[in-house]
Amino acid sequence: MSDFDFSVIAANWAFLAEGLRYTLQVTVTAMLGGILIGTLLALMRLSSIVPLQWFAAGYVNVFRSVPLVQVILAFYLIIPLVLQMITGKSTPIGAANSAYFTFTIFEAAYYSEIMRSGIQSIPKGQIAAGYALGFTYGQTMRFVVLPQAFRNMLPVLLTQTIILFQDISLVYAIGATDFFGAADKITQRDLRPVEMYTTVAVVYFVICFTLSRLVKLLQSRIAIIR
């Protein structure tokens, strides 16, 4: 057993912080984009137009049955192919950028299921009331249904976001430098796996544990208001 030498953390903290910043940026982007697209998918799935239902159901089922690492690698390789088809010239986008896109598209499937159950939890009378007030479909959703669905589902949406935050570590598959990727690269160079991976695990734990406790707190708050 080697002696611990945590100076390797101090010497590389800037690189690690940079990785953590990237992880947070992808998390926030994918959360906002994913909830937006996910809500649209949920509305499509619950609409009366059959092709839209099929599209949304297919989208959600495909992304929910494939491992995330596979999607990360596949998108990283396929996006440039598609871009080349559209623009006609080769446009490499890089691992770090492709992850923003991949996570947004992938998480949309999961957020959409959450939003769907949120929308379905709203009593039908609310929708009828919206129409009775002369609202269009869009207005009923925008002013009556979605705000309530969103609020009821907020704890679940945030819990999914904590999972998303952890899942960013899988960009390891395409060599992007997120928090874990940064730690891994330093380990390859300095050969201090014990200190490095332990630090990463502790940081992930502290962040996710704190956030999940906050979500719990929020959950009890919302429950009381309702």
């Binding site: 929910r64 494939v66 491992p67 690492v69 596949a74 991976y197 992930y204 996710c208 544990f209």
Partner: protein
């Protein structure tokens, strides 16, 4: 688009004399093996933890809660790296050397994935037990059962049936999560996927095939557990009458 479609490459020979479809089949075998073995570890440990968290013993509850918090708040890939690169350095030297030299990779990976999933199973089992009315335990105790016997003969048989749909989706998740074990050297389906892309660059064909393979694995698992669910259904119990179609 100048992408060159070539579905026949699956039948081409690789460097090691096998064909590409052999690689996929072997990956599929490893994925199935690692997933099912991890699921077994997770079910046993997860059930024990779930039961612990519903007992009157404060220490047991605390220990179970701490386990779940710890294993749910660290990403799977980090946990696997901890088992492979950190734990062997922290245990006594001779055990560490044995872990690094003699213990097969797949055992460590199965334990890692199993312990990770156990935290999720523990949540479901706990929820199942807590959803039973208090009268079930009391009735058991009144019949002269010990605390353990009320679990064994009264509460767990009900709890498992109630949470079977949730367990089904965990069982499907474990197949997807097993893909992460490629990072610690398991030659499962995702590893072969990555390797075939590097060798052939036929990204689209192999993506379609591997996606379908994962789809089929999840579907088969779902059908098997739906069958179990139908066979173990408690007549008259509303919960568990539908479901199994789950995620």
């Amino acid at each position: 688009m100048n992408y060159h479609w070539d579905w026949m490459f699956f039948f081409q020979e690789t460097d090691d004399g096998l064909k590409y479809y052999d690689w996929i089949l072997s990956g599929l075998g490893w994925t199935t093996f690692v997933s099912l073995a991890s699921l077994a570890v997770a079910l046993i440990l997860g059930s024990a933890l779930g039961v612990m968290r519903t007992t009157p013993g404060r220490w047991l509850v605390g220990l179970g809660d701490a386990y779940v918090d710890l294993f749910r708040n660290i990403p799977l890939i980090v946990q696997l790296f901890m088992w492979f690169f950190v734990v062997p350095e922290l245990v006594p030297e001779n055990i560490g050397i044995w872990m690094k030299q003699d213990l097969p990779y797949f055992v460590t990976a199965i334990v890692g994935l199993g312990l990770y999933t156990a935290a999720r199973i523990a949540e479901q089992v706990k929820a199942g037990i807590n959803s039973l009315s208090r009268g079930q335990r009391n009735a058991g105790l009144a019949l002269g059962f010990t605390e353990w016997q009320t679990y064994r003969y009264v509460r767990l048989p009900m709890a498992y049936r109630i949470v079977l749909p949730a367990l089904t989706s965990e069982a499907m998740n474990i197949f997807k999560n097993s893909a992460v074990t490629y990072a610690v050297g398991i030659l499962e389906l995702y590893f072969q996927y990555k390797q075939i892309i590097e060798k052939t660059s036929q990204v689209l064909e192999i993506t379609i095939v591997v996606t379908l393979a994962y789809f089929i694995l999840a579907f088969v698992m779902n059908r098997i557990l739906a069958f179990v669910e139908a066979r173990t259904r408690v007549p008259g119990l509303i919960v568990g009458q539908k479901g199994g179609k789950g995620s």
